[in-house]
Amino acid sequence: MGGMHHSALRFTGVGALSQAILDLDGNLPETPLRSALDQISARLPILHGRVARDWLNLAPYWKLPRRAGGNPISLRVVDLPSDAAAEAQRLLADHVNQPLAPPSDHLSFLLIRLGNQRSRLGMVFDHRLFDAIGAESFLRLIDQTWQGNLDQIAPKVKLTEPAHLDHWSRRFRSGKLLNAGLLKLAEREVCALKMPAAGSSPRVRFCHASLTIEQTERFRQRAAAECGMPILLPSAAARAVLSLQHAIPIMPLPGQQYLVFTSASTRAAGQEWESLFFNHLSFLPFSIDVDPPQSPTALVLKLRDQLFEQMRQGIPAALQDASALVRICPHWLGSRLMGRMFKGRLCSFYFACLRETGFPERTFLGLPAVDLIHTPTAFAPPGMNLCMTTFGDRFNLVLSYLDGVLEDSAAAAMMGHFKSLLVE
């Protein structure tokens, strides 16, 4: 995650930040929200921590301060007229595009109230502190704190991660397996959009769409029928690739494969509070031939077989094992080596498909929760993420892209085609 943060900082200037936006029906008062954040901050010193390096075994770890003072979580409140939804959208986009500054360098809230009818709460978080599901669980923690349950939950939260750089031979074996896999992937040039010119510090832009409950259920059933089992990832990833192929003219660029990195949750079931902080993720790469264009069903089966093969080889576990080893390497060096291996094109885009949710509630501080979407900034070059998250019984889709990588019209076309392939 440190490597991603470094690479995102280098390419986007905003680091590996993301924002979870909760849409609420009604006027969210500031006082109970601030009080809940103060209580959480006082109870969980992890929020006051920072990344440090253990000079004994060289691994980075999350260092807690000897004495935590104040509240490191910032909260800004903006009141707008009820018809200023577009302005609220702009402010929330600005919020995630601003680098976080100390003391609020991991977590920042923006509460926008639209008249007395609607509130939008944006929580920008450093991805080194949470993953997306952890962020949703943190929103749930705020609600639980408001309900007076912090004392029961806080003892379950794991406060620190040890550097734990042990089991050297196992980690080296994992590293060898992973390295061989990456070298094989890098043999064929990756088809990807061009990065914006060096030296510029472009903003991340977002394009959002939602599926209805009926559309989501229909897609779940189709995905299960296509894969022959109740899994979503191959069907969703296949349609993401087809929408890129359809909507964005990247074919004139040299490349023999689309390479899509997908995140994979490694969180144990029922460990919501224990795994609230830090990242519980691994990654799986999917390689898809650029030519000829493929039908969704044919592509789904290819991706399903790749998923099985990578799981058989233990790639997600090897990546986790080896990443602890790779942490010794300075991030600037790591990202440069990866860049050289892939000739500067690490992937066509990054795809996240979250079936789990950390926020199963339908209320927040007493108000009905209408929606919850994520606006992640771009991790890996070329700076394009497609994110599919669950709220209630339906999916939300967000395309994040660096200004300059995509035109807004191309992003809208890709999102429109992606949605149409999901709901057809």
């Binding site: 022959g228 089992m229 979503l232 994979a264 949750s265 144990a268 099985f308 799981m311």
Partner: protein, 85 residues
Amino acid sequence: MPAHNTDAIQTQLCSEIQTLLSLPPNSVLPETSLQSLGLDSLRFVSLLIIIEQKFGVSLIKVGLRQQDMQSAATLAAAISAGQTA
């Protein structure tokens, strides 16, 4: 790979699912709905790979039906059928 009877498969399968999901012992019963356990794509694939390794049946090749995936009991029946096929 020796053939197992369905009861033995059920018991072993429940135990494998518990381990896979880090659940406490006896928390997965043969009738427990797999959907209620929150098996995501990766964990479901992991379960099928465990079944290949432990019972010698590739359910994906044999052909998995919607009703086979309801619970450990229905999966055990599919494994048993796959072993005798």
